[in-house]
Symmetry: C2
Subunit: 157 residues, 2 copies
DNA sequence: CTCTTAGTGGAAATGGTTTTCATTATTAAT
DNA sequence: ATTAATAATGAAAACCATTTCCACTAAGAG
């Protein structure tokens, strides 16, 4: 029944078409959710947020779309160790390049952007050197710090 | 049948006992395999290598032991994106602090140790600042570069 | 040696993700 | 607008790495 498309279709539509993909209601709905969230959503999280407005979109479609988005380089797929993949739009309106602090106790995730400039410099240097030495075309990197948040650190016997 | 223990039991035995764990045949076998490998083994990989010599040790024990080893900080648990966890002994005889290059095409993993000194410096600085700002007790970090190895880069469409 | 209980293996359960397949919807061509 | 070609979809089933269960075994303190 909800067959009417949003009048303002963001730039992803063109990006999808450019990659030879069709632009569908489901993909629009998923990107809508991703772009509005500041969190690190699981496939099911996204399904749950899409469902009220678009009850016909199945979990399978969520997974398939997330795969495509990850391949296209629009979305980051993370494993934070809680048994499900988590996704985050890369080029979210205001979201900038960042990395993560992960609590091994409660799985809380903190985005941080400190030292990004210094990091970028080092990463660029490493990337150049490593890609030559190991014949690798490097496309991205992750940096993650693991530890315990204040709450979890306290309650650790 | 194989009830005789190796005469030379490495230092892990003491480490295990110190943490209140018992020292068992299975744990010895698993550490033996891990310490002899330079690779990034899955639980099943380890099971397959333990099995010929110790056919009575089950996959369940492998998982349980790897959990303990990870908690104790003796083993790194990685997700390289191929659907199974991969493990690597941290304090392996000659193995030093290193990070990984991961091929998104064939999942080849390259260990690298370049720039470790510069990285250590930056990481230390970040760790200090981040742990204060976000009230996190940071215990470890990972850095991974993703891309395509020469083989996979060629055969890409 | 005896006793307590941590550790174990095999089978079954779990649960996130993928596959299958008949149906639907998008797109380009008419 | 209609049509044709086929990409995309949803529901159910399959998949499969990992976890749980539970009766049994063995480590190790006393
Ligand atoms: Mn983030
Ligand atoms: Mn390694
Ligand atoms: Zn926490
Ligand atoms: Zn490759």
């Amino acid at each position: 029944m909800p067959g009417i498309r949003l009048s303002t279709s963001p730039w992803w539509q063109a990006r999808f078409r450019g990659c030879g993909y069709r632009w569908t209601l489901g993909r629009e709905a998923i990107l809508e959710v991703l772009s509005k969230s500041e969190e690190h959503l699981s496939a099911e999280d996204i399904y749950l947020r899409v469902h009220p407005k678009y009850p016909n979109i199945g979990l399978t479609t969520i997974y398939r779309t997330l795969d495509i988005l990850t391949d296209m380089g629009l979305v980051w797929k993370f494993d934070f160790g809680d048994g499900r993949a988590r996704y985050e739009l890369i080029e979210g309106s205001k979201k900038m390049h960042h990395h993560h602090l992960i609590c091994k106790g409660c799985n809380r995730i903190v985005d941080y952007t400190e030292f990004i400039e210094e990091e970028k410099e080092l990463v660029k240097k490493m990337q150049n050197s490593l890609s030559k030495k190991y014949n690798f075309k490097i496309t991205s990197h992750i940096i993650q710090f693991y530890g315990f948040c204040s709450k979890c650190d306290k309650q650790k016997d």
